[in-house]
Protein backbone atom coordinates (compact mmCIF):
# COMPACT_ATOMS: atom_id res chain seq x y z
CA UNK A 1 0.00 0.00 0.00
CA UNK A 2 1.38 3.36 -0.97
CA UNK A 3 1.48 5.81 1.89
CA UNK A 4 -0.93 8.67 1.42
CA UNK A 5 0.62 11.98 0.46
CA UNK A 6 1.93 14.12 3.29
CA UNK A 7 -0.56 16.77 2.36
CA UNK A 8 -3.49 14.46 2.84
CA UNK A 9 -2.13 13.12 6.11
CA UNK A 10 -1.48 16.62 7.42
CA UNK A 11 -5.05 17.58 6.48
CA UNK A 12 -6.41 14.63 8.42
CA UNK A 13 -4.31 15.56 11.47
CA UNK A 14 -5.53 19.16 11.22
CA UNK A 15 -9.14 17.96 11.19
CA UNK A 16 -8.52 15.72 14.17
CA UNK A 17 -6.97 18.60 16.14
CA UNK A 18 -9.90 20.85 15.20
CA UNK A 19 -12.38 18.17 16.28
CA UNK A 20 -10.59 17.65 19.60
CA UNK A 21 -10.50 21.39 20.22
CA UNK A 22 -14.19 21.90 19.41
CA UNK A 23 -15.13 18.90 21.52
CA UNK A 24 -13.13 20.11 24.50
CA UNK A 25 -14.62 23.56 24.10
CA UNK A 26 -18.15 22.21 24.02
CA UNK A 27 -17.49 20.08 27.09
CA UNK A 28 -15.89 22.94 28.99
CA UNK A 29 -18.76 25.35 28.51
CA UNK A 30 -21.55 22.78 28.62
CA UNK A 31 -21.17 21.83 32.28
CA UNK A 32 -22.97 23.64 35.02
CA UNK A 33 -21.57 25.56 37.92
CA UNK A 34 -23.14 25.88 41.34
CA UNK A 35 -26.12 28.26 41.44
CA UNK A 36 -26.62 30.57 44.32
CA UNK A 37 -29.67 31.77 46.06
CA UNK A 38 -29.81 35.50 45.66
CA UNK A 39 -32.04 38.43 45.54
CA UNK A 40 -34.05 38.36 42.24
CA UNK A 41 -33.03 41.95 41.44
CA UNK A 42 -29.37 41.07 41.88
CA UNK A 43 -29.82 37.86 39.90
CA UNK A 44 -31.03 39.87 36.91
CA UNK A 45 -27.79 41.85 36.99
CA UNK A 46 -25.64 38.72 37.29
CA UNK A 47 -27.08 37.02 34.19
CA UNK A 48 -27.61 33.33 33.40
CA UNK A 49 -24.28 32.10 34.68
CA UNK A 50 -25.15 32.86 38.25
CA UNK A 51 -28.84 31.97 38.23
CA UNK A 52 -29.01 28.89 35.97
CA UNK A 53 -25.49 27.49 36.34
CA UNK A 54 -24.87 27.95 32.61
CA UNK A 55 -21.48 29.22 31.47
CA UNK A 56 -21.39 32.74 30.05
CA UNK A 57 -18.79 31.52 27.61
CA UNK A 58 -20.54 30.49 24.41
CA UNK A 59 -19.94 27.04 23.00
CA UNK A 60 -18.87 26.28 19.45
CA UNK A 61 -22.46 25.75 18.37
CA UNK A 62 -23.44 29.23 19.61
CA UNK A 63 -20.54 30.74 17.73
CA UNK A 64 -21.44 28.70 14.66
CA UNK A 65 -25.00 30.05 14.76
CA UNK A 66 -23.68 33.62 15.04
CA UNK A 67 -21.29 33.14 12.14
CA UNK A 68 -24.12 31.73 10.07
CA UNK A 69 -26.20 34.77 10.94
CA UNK A 70 -23.42 37.12 9.85
CA UNK A 71 -22.82 35.20 6.65
CA UNK A 72 -26.49 35.41 5.69
CA UNK A 73 -26.58 39.15 6.12
CA UNK A 74 -23.10 40.64 6.24
CA UNK A 75 -23.95 44.10 4.94
CA UNK A 76 -26.93 45.30 6.97
CA UNK A 77 -26.83 48.82 8.36
CA UNK A 78 -29.13 49.65 11.28
CA UNK A 79 -27.49 52.79 12.56
CA UNK A 80 -24.02 53.70 13.71
CA UNK A 81 -23.72 50.99 16.37
CA UNK A 82 -25.28 48.12 14.45
CA UNK A 83 -23.67 47.42 11.13
CA UNK A 84 -23.04 44.05 9.47
CA UNK A 85 -19.61 42.49 9.87
CA UNK A 86 -19.04 42.80 6.09
CA UNK A 87 -19.39 46.58 6.27
CA UNK A 88 -17.00 46.74 9.23
CA UNK A 89 -14.45 44.59 7.43
CA UNK A 90 -14.77 46.71 4.30
CA UNK A 91 -13.93 49.81 6.32
CA UNK A 92 -10.89 48.17 7.90
CA UNK A 93 -9.61 46.77 4.61
CA UNK A 94 -10.07 50.13 2.91
CA UNK A 95 -8.06 51.89 5.62
CA UNK A 96 -5.29 49.32 5.44
CA UNK A 97 -5.24 49.47 1.65
CA UNK A 98 -5.00 53.24 1.66
CA UNK A 99 -2.36 53.53 4.37
CA UNK A 100 -0.37 50.66 2.90
CA UNK A 101 -0.48 52.11 -0.63
CA UNK A 102 0.71 55.48 0.62
CA UNK A 103 3.55 53.72 2.42
CA UNK A 104 4.49 51.89 -0.82
CA UNK A 105 4.60 55.21 -2.66
CA UNK A 106 7.01 56.64 -0.09
CA UNK A 107 9.03 53.58 0.95
CA UNK A 108 10.05 52.31 -2.48
CA UNK A 109 11.49 55.57 -3.88
CA UNK A 110 13.15 56.45 -0.57
CA UNK A 111 14.41 52.88 -0.25
CA UNK A 112 15.93 53.19 -3.74
CA UNK A 113 17.63 56.39 -2.69
CA UNK A 114 19.05 54.83 0.45
CA UNK A 115 20.08 51.67 -1.36
CA UNK A 116 21.86 53.51 -4.16
CA UNK A 117 23.52 56.28 -2.19
CA UNK A 118 25.84 55.36 0.68
CA UNK A 119 25.71 59.02 1.74
CA UNK A 120 21.91 59.09 2.07
CA UNK A 121 22.01 55.68 3.69
CA UNK A 122 24.20 57.00 6.47
CA UNK A 123 22.39 60.33 6.69
CA UNK A 124 18.92 58.80 7.08
CA UNK A 125 19.99 55.89 9.24
CA UNK A 126 19.60 57.64 12.67
CA UNK A 127 16.06 58.79 11.81
CA UNK A 128 15.03 55.32 10.74
CA UNK A 129 16.65 53.68 13.74
CA UNK A 130 14.82 55.97 16.16
CA UNK A 131 11.42 56.04 14.47
CA UNK A 132 11.24 52.35 13.56
CA UNK A 133 10.79 50.97 17.10
CA UNK A 134 8.03 53.46 17.98
CA UNK A 135 4.69 51.73 18.37
CA UNK A 136 2.47 53.08 15.61
CA UNK A 137 -0.27 53.78 18.16
CA UNK A 138 2.02 56.28 19.87
CA UNK A 139 1.56 58.46 16.78
CA UNK A 140 -2.20 58.49 17.28
CA UNK A 141 -2.52 61.52 19.56
CA UNK A 142 -0.20 63.55 17.36
CA UNK A 143 -2.16 62.47 14.30
CA UNK A 144 -5.50 63.31 15.92
CA UNK A 145 -4.22 66.70 17.00
CA UNK A 146 -2.73 67.68 13.63
CA UNK A 147 -5.12 65.96 11.22
CA UNK A 148 -8.24 66.49 13.35
CA UNK A 149 -9.99 63.58 11.64
CA UNK A 150 -10.09 60.19 13.32
CA UNK A 151 -10.57 58.25 10.05
CA UNK A 152 -7.55 59.84 8.39
CA UNK A 153 -5.56 59.46 11.61
CA UNK A 154 -6.14 55.71 11.50
CA UNK A 155 -4.92 55.67 7.90
CA UNK A 156 -1.85 57.65 8.97
CA UNK A 157 -1.09 55.11 11.68
CA UNK A 158 -1.30 52.31 9.11
CA UNK A 159 0.97 54.32 6.82
CA UNK A 160 3.60 54.83 9.50
CA UNK A 161 3.64 51.19 10.61
CA UNK A 162 3.81 49.85 7.04
CA UNK A 163 6.61 52.19 6.11
CA UNK A 164 9.61 50.78 7.95
CA UNK A 165 9.77 47.13 6.84
CA UNK A 166 9.26 48.17 3.21
CA UNK A 167 11.79 50.97 3.45
CA UNK A 168 14.46 48.81 5.01
CA UNK A 169 13.88 45.86 2.70
CA UNK A 170 13.86 48.03 -0.41
CA UNK A 171 17.13 49.68 0.63
CA UNK A 172 18.63 46.29 1.41
CA UNK A 173 17.47 44.77 -1.88
CA UNK A 174 18.66 47.72 -3.95
CA UNK A 175 22.06 47.85 -2.25
CA UNK A 176 22.48 44.12 -2.79
CA UNK A 177 21.95 44.02 -6.55
CA UNK A 178 24.84 42.05 -8.00
CA UNK A 179 27.66 44.16 -9.35
CA UNK A 180 27.89 42.09 -12.52
CA UNK A 181 24.27 42.88 -13.43
CA UNK A 182 24.94 46.57 -12.90
CA UNK A 183 28.08 46.23 -15.02
CA UNK A 184 26.00 44.70 -17.81
CA UNK A 185 23.80 47.79 -17.77
CA UNK A 186 26.82 50.07 -17.64
CA UNK A 187 28.56 48.45 -20.61
CA UNK A 188 25.30 48.75 -22.55
CA UNK A 189 25.20 52.47 -21.74
CA UNK A 190 21.81 52.13 -20.06
CA UNK A 191 20.70 55.41 -18.46
CA UNK A 192 20.02 55.68 -14.71
CA UNK A 193 16.24 55.64 -14.98
CA UNK A 194 16.11 52.71 -17.38
CA UNK A 195 18.68 50.92 -15.24
CA UNK A 196 16.51 51.44 -12.15
CA UNK A 197 13.47 49.91 -13.85
CA UNK A 198 15.09 47.18 -15.95
CA UNK A 199 17.86 45.94 -13.68
CA UNK A 200 17.61 47.15 -10.09
CA UNK A 201 13.85 46.85 -9.64
CA UNK A 202 13.54 43.28 -10.98
CA UNK A 203 16.67 42.21 -9.09
CA UNK A 204 15.45 43.72 -5.81
CA UNK A 205 11.77 42.83 -6.29
CA UNK A 206 11.79 39.61 -4.25
CA UNK A 207 13.34 41.45 -1.28
CA UNK A 208 10.96 44.39 -1.69
CA UNK A 209 7.97 42.03 -1.74
CA UNK A 210 9.24 40.37 1.45
CA UNK A 211 9.16 43.80 3.08
CA UNK A 212 5.65 44.43 1.74
CA UNK A 213 4.49 41.12 3.13
CA UNK A 214 5.84 41.95 6.58
CA UNK A 215 4.24 45.39 6.34
CA UNK A 216 0.77 44.17 5.44
CA UNK A 217 0.90 41.75 8.36
CA UNK A 218 1.80 44.54 10.78
CA UNK A 219 -0.80 46.87 9.25
CA UNK A 220 -3.52 44.30 9.81
CA UNK A 221 -2.39 43.84 13.40
CA UNK A 222 -2.39 47.57 14.02
CA UNK A 223 -5.72 48.44 12.36
CA UNK A 224 -7.67 46.52 15.01
CA UNK A 225 -6.04 48.46 17.84
CA UNK A 226 -6.29 51.74 15.97
CA UNK A 227 -10.00 51.29 15.32
CA UNK A 228 -10.60 50.44 18.95
CA UNK A 229 -9.16 53.86 19.71
CA UNK A 230 -10.78 55.97 17.01
CA UNK A 231 -14.11 54.14 16.99
CA UNK A 232 -16.93 54.65 14.52
CA UNK A 233 -16.44 51.84 12.04
CA UNK A 234 -14.16 48.96 11.30
CA UNK A 235 -13.57 45.50 12.64
CA UNK A 236 -11.55 46.81 15.60
CA UNK A 237 -14.43 49.03 16.62
CA UNK A 238 -16.80 46.11 16.10
CA UNK A 239 -14.81 43.94 18.53
CA UNK A 240 -14.81 46.66 21.17
CA UNK A 241 -18.48 47.42 20.66
CA UNK A 242 -19.42 43.76 21.03
CA UNK A 243 -17.32 43.56 24.19
CA UNK A 244 -19.33 46.47 25.57
CA UNK A 245 -22.44 44.53 24.54
CA UNK A 246 -21.01 41.50 26.38
CA UNK A 247 -21.53 39.50 23.20
CA UNK A 248 -18.69 36.99 23.49
CA UNK A 249 -19.99 35.07 20.45
CA UNK A 250 -19.52 38.15 18.30
CA UNK A 251 -16.05 38.74 19.77
CA UNK A 252 -15.03 35.18 18.92
CA UNK A 253 -16.54 35.55 15.46
CA UNK A 254 -14.50 38.73 14.96
CA UNK A 255 -11.30 37.00 16.04
CA UNK A 256 -11.87 34.29 13.46
CA UNK A 257 -12.71 36.84 10.78
CA UNK A 258 -9.65 38.97 11.53
CA UNK A 259 -7.48 35.87 11.28
CA UNK A 260 -9.02 34.81 7.99
CA UNK A 261 -8.67 38.23 6.39
CA UNK A 262 -5.07 38.50 7.64
CA UNK A 263 -4.31 35.17 6.05
CA UNK A 264 -5.84 36.21 2.75
CA UNK A 265 -3.83 39.45 2.70
CA UNK A 266 -0.64 37.54 3.42
CA UNK A 267 -1.39 34.97 0.73
CA UNK A 268 -2.05 37.72 -1.81
CA UNK A 269 1.42 39.13 -1.23
CA UNK A 270 2.96 35.67 -1.16
CA UNK A 271 1.44 35.12 -4.59
CA UNK A 272 2.81 38.44 -5.82
CA UNK A 273 6.19 37.48 -4.40
CA UNK A 274 6.18 34.23 -6.35
CA UNK A 275 5.49 36.21 -9.52
CA UNK A 276 8.64 38.32 -9.17
CA UNK A 277 10.97 35.65 -7.79
CA UNK A 278 13.47 34.32 -10.30
CA UNK A 279 15.52 31.13 -10.04
CA UNK A 280 19.24 31.55 -10.44
Amino acid sequence: MRPASIRLRAGVVSLVILGLFLGAWQLAVGGSVATQQMDPEYAKLMGVSATQGKSAMPGPLDVGRTIWGHLRDPFYDRGSNDKGIGIQLAHSIARVALGFSLAVLVAIPVGFLIGMSPLMSRALDPFIQILKPVSPLAWMPLALYTIKDSGISAIFVIFICSLWPMLINTAFGVAGVRREWLNVARTLEVGPLRRAFTVILPAAAPTILTGMRISIGIAWLVIVAAEMLVGGTGIGYFVWNEWNNLSITNVITSILTIGLVGMVLDQLLAWAQRLVTFPE
Binding site: R186, T187, A203, E280
Partner: protein, 307 residues
Protein backbone atom coordinates in the same frame (compact mmCIF):
# COMPACT_ATOMS: atom_id res chain seq x y z
CA UNK B 1 48.32 61.29 -30.66
CA UNK B 2 47.60 61.56 -34.33
CA UNK B 3 47.49 57.87 -34.86
CA UNK B 4 45.97 57.37 -38.26
CA UNK B 5 46.74 53.74 -38.71
CA UNK B 6 45.21 50.36 -38.09
CA UNK B 7 45.58 50.66 -34.33
CA UNK B 8 42.18 50.31 -32.76
CA UNK B 9 43.23 50.19 -29.13
CA UNK B 10 46.18 52.07 -27.75
CA UNK B 11 46.90 51.68 -24.06
CA UNK B 12 49.18 54.56 -23.19
CA UNK B 13 51.10 54.33 -19.96
CA UNK B 14 48.20 53.36 -17.69
CA UNK B 15 48.74 52.65 -14.02
CA UNK B 16 46.57 51.35 -11.20
CA UNK B 17 47.41 52.11 -7.59
CA UNK B 18 45.50 51.40 -4.43
CA UNK B 19 46.08 52.91 -1.00
CA UNK B 20 48.02 50.31 0.92
CA UNK B 21 46.97 49.34 4.43
CA UNK B 22 49.14 51.33 6.82
CA UNK B 23 49.78 54.22 4.46
CA UNK B 24 51.48 54.50 1.11
CA UNK B 25 50.27 52.95 -2.12
CA UNK B 26 50.33 49.57 -3.74
CA UNK B 27 51.03 49.74 -7.44
CA UNK B 28 49.29 46.90 -9.23
CA UNK B 29 50.86 47.97 -12.50
CA UNK B 30 52.25 51.17 -13.95
CA UNK B 31 53.52 52.50 -17.24
CA UNK B 32 51.67 49.88 -19.26
CA UNK B 33 51.71 50.33 -23.02
CA UNK B 34 49.99 48.13 -25.57
CA UNK B 35 48.62 48.51 -29.06
CA UNK B 36 45.99 46.27 -30.60
CA UNK B 37 45.35 46.41 -34.32
CA UNK B 38 41.96 46.30 -35.98
CA UNK B 39 40.78 42.72 -36.40
CA UNK B 40 43.43 41.28 -34.11
CA UNK B 41 42.69 38.59 -31.55
CA UNK B 42 44.84 39.33 -28.51
CA UNK B 43 45.11 37.09 -25.47
CA UNK B 44 46.66 38.24 -22.23
CA UNK B 45 48.17 35.62 -19.97
CA UNK B 46 49.67 36.07 -16.56
CA UNK B 47 49.26 34.83 -13.04
CA UNK B 48 46.41 35.91 -10.77
CA UNK B 49 47.00 39.28 -9.19
CA UNK B 50 48.96 40.72 -12.10
CA UNK B 51 46.11 43.10 -12.84
CA UNK B 52 45.00 41.66 -16.16
CA UNK B 53 41.34 41.86 -15.17
CA UNK B 54 41.88 45.46 -14.04
CA UNK B 55 43.29 46.30 -17.47
CA UNK B 56 40.25 44.71 -19.08
CA UNK B 57 37.90 46.64 -16.80
CA UNK B 58 39.70 49.86 -17.70
CA UNK B 59 39.28 49.00 -21.38
CA UNK B 60 35.61 48.31 -20.73
CA UNK B 61 35.30 51.64 -18.94
CA UNK B 62 34.12 49.94 -15.75
CA UNK B 63 37.27 51.01 -13.93
CA UNK B 64 39.43 54.11 -14.33
CA UNK B 65 43.23 54.08 -14.43
CA UNK B 66 45.15 55.98 -11.75
CA UNK B 67 47.34 57.37 -14.50
CA UNK B 68 47.73 57.23 -18.27
CA UNK B 69 45.00 56.87 -20.85
CA UNK B 70 43.40 54.43 -23.23
CA UNK B 71 42.68 55.57 -26.78
CA UNK B 72 40.16 53.63 -28.81
CA UNK B 73 39.65 54.48 -32.45
CA UNK B 74 41.43 57.81 -32.00
CA UNK B 75 39.53 58.89 -28.91
CA UNK B 76 40.41 58.68 -25.25
CA UNK B 77 37.82 56.56 -23.51
CA UNK B 78 35.80 57.89 -20.60
CA UNK B 79 33.52 55.23 -19.23
CA UNK B 80 31.72 52.28 -20.78
CA UNK B 81 30.60 52.27 -24.37
CA UNK B 82 28.49 50.12 -26.65
CA UNK B 83 31.54 50.01 -28.93
CA UNK B 84 33.23 47.76 -26.39
CA UNK B 85 31.20 44.69 -25.50
CA UNK B 86 32.17 42.58 -22.50
CA UNK B 87 31.75 38.84 -22.11
CA UNK B 88 31.89 38.31 -18.38
CA UNK B 89 33.53 35.38 -16.67
CA UNK B 90 30.35 34.46 -14.84
CA UNK B 91 28.12 35.02 -17.91
CA UNK B 92 26.19 37.75 -16.00
CA UNK B 93 22.85 37.00 -17.62
CA UNK B 94 19.82 38.68 -16.05
CA UNK B 95 18.05 35.66 -14.51
CA UNK B 96 14.56 37.17 -14.67
CA UNK B 97 14.76 37.57 -18.44
CA UNK B 98 14.56 34.81 -21.03
CA UNK B 99 17.40 34.11 -23.46
CA UNK B 100 15.63 36.29 -26.01
CA UNK B 101 14.99 38.95 -23.37
CA UNK B 102 18.65 39.09 -22.38
CA UNK B 103 19.88 39.49 -25.95
CA UNK B 104 17.04 41.87 -26.87
CA UNK B 105 17.93 44.04 -23.88
CA UNK B 106 21.38 44.60 -25.35
CA UNK B 107 20.00 45.12 -28.86
CA UNK B 108 17.44 47.68 -27.69
CA UNK B 109 20.18 49.47 -25.76
CA UNK B 110 22.29 49.69 -28.92
CA UNK B 111 19.46 50.77 -31.26
CA UNK B 112 17.22 52.77 -28.92
CA UNK B 113 14.66 53.81 -31.49
CA UNK B 114 14.46 50.51 -33.32
CA UNK B 115 10.96 49.03 -33.56
CA UNK B 116 10.29 45.99 -31.40
CA UNK B 117 10.12 43.70 -34.40
CA UNK B 118 13.59 44.71 -35.55
CA UNK B 119 15.02 44.28 -32.06
CA UNK B 120 13.56 40.81 -31.86
CA UNK B 121 14.80 39.87 -35.31
CA UNK B 122 18.35 40.98 -34.49
CA UNK B 123 18.25 39.17 -31.15
CA UNK B 124 16.96 35.98 -32.76
CA UNK B 125 19.67 36.16 -35.41
CA UNK B 126 22.37 36.53 -32.75
CA UNK B 127 20.94 33.60 -30.78
CA UNK B 128 20.86 31.45 -33.92
CA UNK B 129 24.51 32.37 -34.63
CA UNK B 130 25.65 30.78 -31.38
CA UNK B 131 23.52 27.71 -32.06
CA UNK B 132 20.77 28.32 -29.53
CA UNK B 133 17.83 28.67 -31.92
CA UNK B 134 14.83 27.06 -30.23
CA UNK B 135 15.92 28.05 -26.72
CA UNK B 136 14.83 31.68 -27.01
CA UNK B 137 12.14 31.42 -24.36
CA UNK B 138 14.16 29.54 -21.77
CA UNK B 139 15.38 31.23 -18.64
CA UNK B 140 19.09 31.20 -17.76
CA UNK B 141 18.40 28.81 -14.86
CA UNK B 142 17.21 26.22 -17.38
CA UNK B 143 20.47 26.34 -19.35
CA UNK B 144 23.77 24.53 -18.85
CA UNK B 145 26.92 26.53 -18.15
CA UNK B 146 28.04 26.30 -21.77
CA UNK B 147 24.65 27.45 -23.08
CA UNK B 148 24.65 30.39 -20.67
CA UNK B 149 28.02 31.51 -21.95
CA UNK B 150 26.74 31.14 -25.52
CA UNK B 151 23.97 33.57 -24.60
CA UNK B 152 26.66 35.86 -23.18
CA UNK B 153 28.50 35.69 -26.50
CA UNK B 154 25.27 36.28 -28.45
CA UNK B 155 24.49 39.29 -26.29
CA UNK B 156 27.95 40.76 -26.88
CA UNK B 157 28.00 40.10 -30.62
CA UNK B 158 24.42 41.28 -31.16
CA UNK B 159 25.40 44.89 -30.55
CA UNK B 160 28.10 44.68 -33.24
CA UNK B 161 30.87 46.13 -31.09
CA UNK B 162 34.17 47.41 -32.41
CA UNK B 163 35.95 45.51 -29.67
CA UNK B 164 35.04 42.36 -27.83
CA UNK B 165 36.45 42.11 -24.31
CA UNK B 166 36.49 38.67 -22.73
CA UNK B 167 37.48 37.95 -19.15
CA UNK B 168 38.31 34.25 -18.90
CA UNK B 169 35.00 33.49 -20.57
CA UNK B 170 35.42 29.72 -20.73
CA UNK B 171 37.23 29.05 -17.47
CA UNK B 172 34.13 27.88 -15.61
CA UNK B 173 33.22 25.28 -18.25
CA UNK B 174 34.11 21.63 -18.54
CA UNK B 175 36.87 20.72 -21.00
CA UNK B 176 34.63 19.42 -23.79
CA UNK B 177 32.27 22.39 -23.72
CA UNK B 178 35.21 24.74 -23.51
CA UNK B 179 36.74 23.25 -26.67
CA UNK B 180 33.51 23.60 -28.62
CA UNK B 181 32.96 27.15 -27.49
CA UNK B 182 36.54 28.14 -28.27
CA UNK B 183 36.06 26.82 -31.77
CA UNK B 184 32.83 28.75 -32.24
CA UNK B 185 34.24 31.91 -30.74
CA UNK B 186 37.17 31.75 -33.15
CA UNK B 187 34.87 31.09 -36.12
CA UNK B 188 32.52 33.95 -35.21
CA UNK B 189 35.36 36.41 -34.66
CA UNK B 190 37.15 35.44 -37.87
CA UNK B 191 33.98 35.69 -39.92
CA UNK B 192 33.38 39.27 -38.89
CA UNK B 193 36.99 40.39 -38.42
CA UNK B 194 36.20 41.09 -34.79
CA UNK B 195 38.87 42.76 -32.68
CA UNK B 196 39.16 40.78 -29.46
CA UNK B 197 40.97 41.39 -26.19
CA UNK B 198 40.78 38.32 -24.05
CA UNK B 199 42.16 37.29 -20.69
CA UNK B 200 43.01 33.69 -20.05
CA UNK B 201 45.22 31.57 -17.87
CA UNK B 202 44.95 28.62 -20.23
CA UNK B 203 48.03 28.40 -22.46
CA UNK B 204 46.37 26.14 -25.01
CA UNK B 205 43.39 28.43 -25.25
CA UNK B 206 45.73 31.32 -26.03
CA UNK B 207 47.64 29.29 -28.62
CA UNK B 208 44.47 28.25 -30.41
CA UNK B 209 42.65 31.57 -30.33
CA UNK B 210 45.15 34.39 -30.32
CA UNK B 211 47.02 36.17 -33.08
CA UNK B 212 49.14 37.81 -30.41
CA UNK B 213 49.72 36.72 -26.84
CA UNK B 214 50.60 39.39 -24.31
CA UNK B 215 52.68 38.13 -21.42
CA UNK B 216 52.24 39.94 -18.13
CA UNK B 217 54.63 39.52 -15.23
CA UNK B 218 53.48 38.97 -11.69
CA UNK B 219 52.15 41.84 -9.65
CA UNK B 220 52.41 44.08 -7.80
CA UNK B 221 54.24 46.30 -10.22
CA UNK B 222 53.26 44.08 -13.14
CA UNK B 223 54.63 44.80 -16.61
CA UNK B 224 54.07 43.62 -20.13
CA UNK B 225 57.16 41.48 -20.60
CA UNK B 226 56.72 40.79 -24.28
CA UNK B 227 54.24 40.22 -27.03
CA UNK B 228 54.35 36.82 -28.64
CA UNK B 229 53.22 36.48 -32.22
CA UNK B 230 51.43 33.24 -32.90
CA UNK B 231 53.39 31.38 -35.58
CA UNK B 232 50.62 28.85 -36.26
CA UNK B 233 48.67 29.18 -39.52
CA UNK B 234 45.42 31.20 -39.33
CA UNK B 235 43.35 28.27 -40.58
CA UNK B 236 44.48 26.09 -37.66
CA UNK B 237 42.13 23.49 -36.28
CA UNK B 238 41.80 22.80 -32.63
CA UNK B 239 42.44 19.07 -32.73
CA UNK B 240 45.48 19.40 -34.97
CA UNK B 241 47.51 22.32 -33.69
CA UNK B 242 49.80 20.10 -31.67
CA UNK B 243 51.09 18.59 -34.94
CA UNK B 244 52.28 21.96 -36.12
CA UNK B 245 56.10 22.18 -36.04
CA UNK B 246 55.94 25.49 -34.22
CA UNK B 247 53.43 24.40 -31.60
CA UNK B 248 55.89 23.17 -28.98
CA UNK B 249 58.23 26.09 -29.43
CA UNK B 250 55.34 28.42 -28.74
CA UNK B 251 53.92 26.39 -25.91
CA UNK B 252 57.30 25.95 -24.20
CA UNK B 253 57.96 29.63 -24.54
CA UNK B 254 54.67 30.49 -22.85
CA UNK B 255 55.05 27.93 -20.10
CA UNK B 256 58.65 28.96 -19.42
CA UNK B 257 57.39 32.45 -19.00
CA UNK B 258 54.61 31.51 -16.63
CA UNK B 259 56.77 29.15 -14.59
CA UNK B 260 59.93 31.18 -14.13
CA UNK B 261 60.32 34.41 -16.07
CA UNK B 262 57.05 35.92 -14.87
CA UNK B 263 58.53 36.14 -11.37
CA UNK B 264 62.09 37.18 -12.24
CA UNK B 265 61.31 39.57 -15.06
CA UNK B 266 60.26 42.54 -12.97
CA UNK B 267 63.54 42.80 -11.11
CA UNK B 268 65.77 41.76 -14.01
CA UNK B 269 64.29 42.98 -17.26
CA UNK B 270 66.49 42.08 -20.22
CA UNK B 271 68.79 44.73 -21.60
CA UNK B 272 67.05 47.04 -23.99
CA UNK B 273 63.56 46.29 -22.66
CA UNK B 274 61.33 49.35 -22.44
CA UNK B 275 57.81 49.56 -21.08
CA UNK B 276 56.67 51.61 -24.03
CA UNK B 277 57.87 49.12 -26.63
CA UNK B 278 57.86 45.63 -25.20
CA UNK B 279 59.61 43.25 -27.61
CA UNK B 280 57.61 41.25 -30.09
CA UNK B 281 58.83 37.69 -30.39
CA UNK B 282 57.88 34.84 -32.68
CA UNK B 283 58.87 31.47 -31.21
CA UNK B 284 59.64 28.61 -33.53
CA UNK B 285 60.38 29.39 -37.11
CA UNK B 286 61.62 27.31 -39.98
CA UNK B 287 65.05 26.56 -38.55
CA UNK B 288 64.01 25.09 -35.25
CA UNK B 289 61.47 22.33 -35.18
CA UNK B 290 61.90 21.69 -31.43
CA UNK B 291 63.78 24.62 -29.96
CA UNK B 292 65.18 24.45 -26.49
CA UNK B 293 63.60 26.86 -24.03
CA UNK B 294 64.63 30.44 -24.53
CA UNK B 295 66.97 32.04 -22.10
CA UNK B 296 66.89 35.63 -21.09
CA UNK B 297 68.76 37.94 -23.39
CA UNK B 298 67.84 35.79 -26.34
CA UNK B 299 64.60 37.62 -26.75
CA UNK B 300 66.13 40.71 -28.20
CA UNK B 301 68.03 38.80 -30.86
CA UNK B 302 64.87 37.07 -31.96
CA UNK B 303 62.92 40.24 -31.97
CA UNK B 304 65.54 41.81 -34.19
CA UNK B 305 65.23 38.84 -36.50
CA UNK B 306 61.45 39.00 -36.55
CA UNK B 307 60.98 42.68 -36.89
Amino acid sequence: MSAVDDRLISIEGIAKRYPAPGGGETTIFSDLWLRVGRGEFVCVIGHSGCGKTTVLNILAGLDAPSGGAVVVDGREIAGPSLDRAVIFQGHALLPWKTVLGNVAYAVSSRWRRAPAAEVEARARAAIAKVGLAGSENKRPSELSGGMKQRVGIARALAIEPKILLMDEPFSALDALTRGTLQEEARRLCRETGQTVYMITHDVDEAIYLADKIVLMTNGPGARIAEIVENPLPPDRRQGEIHHDPNYYALRNHLIDFLVSRSTTFRDNPPAGWTAKNPPVVRPGGAAEARPRPLREGEVDRRQAAAG
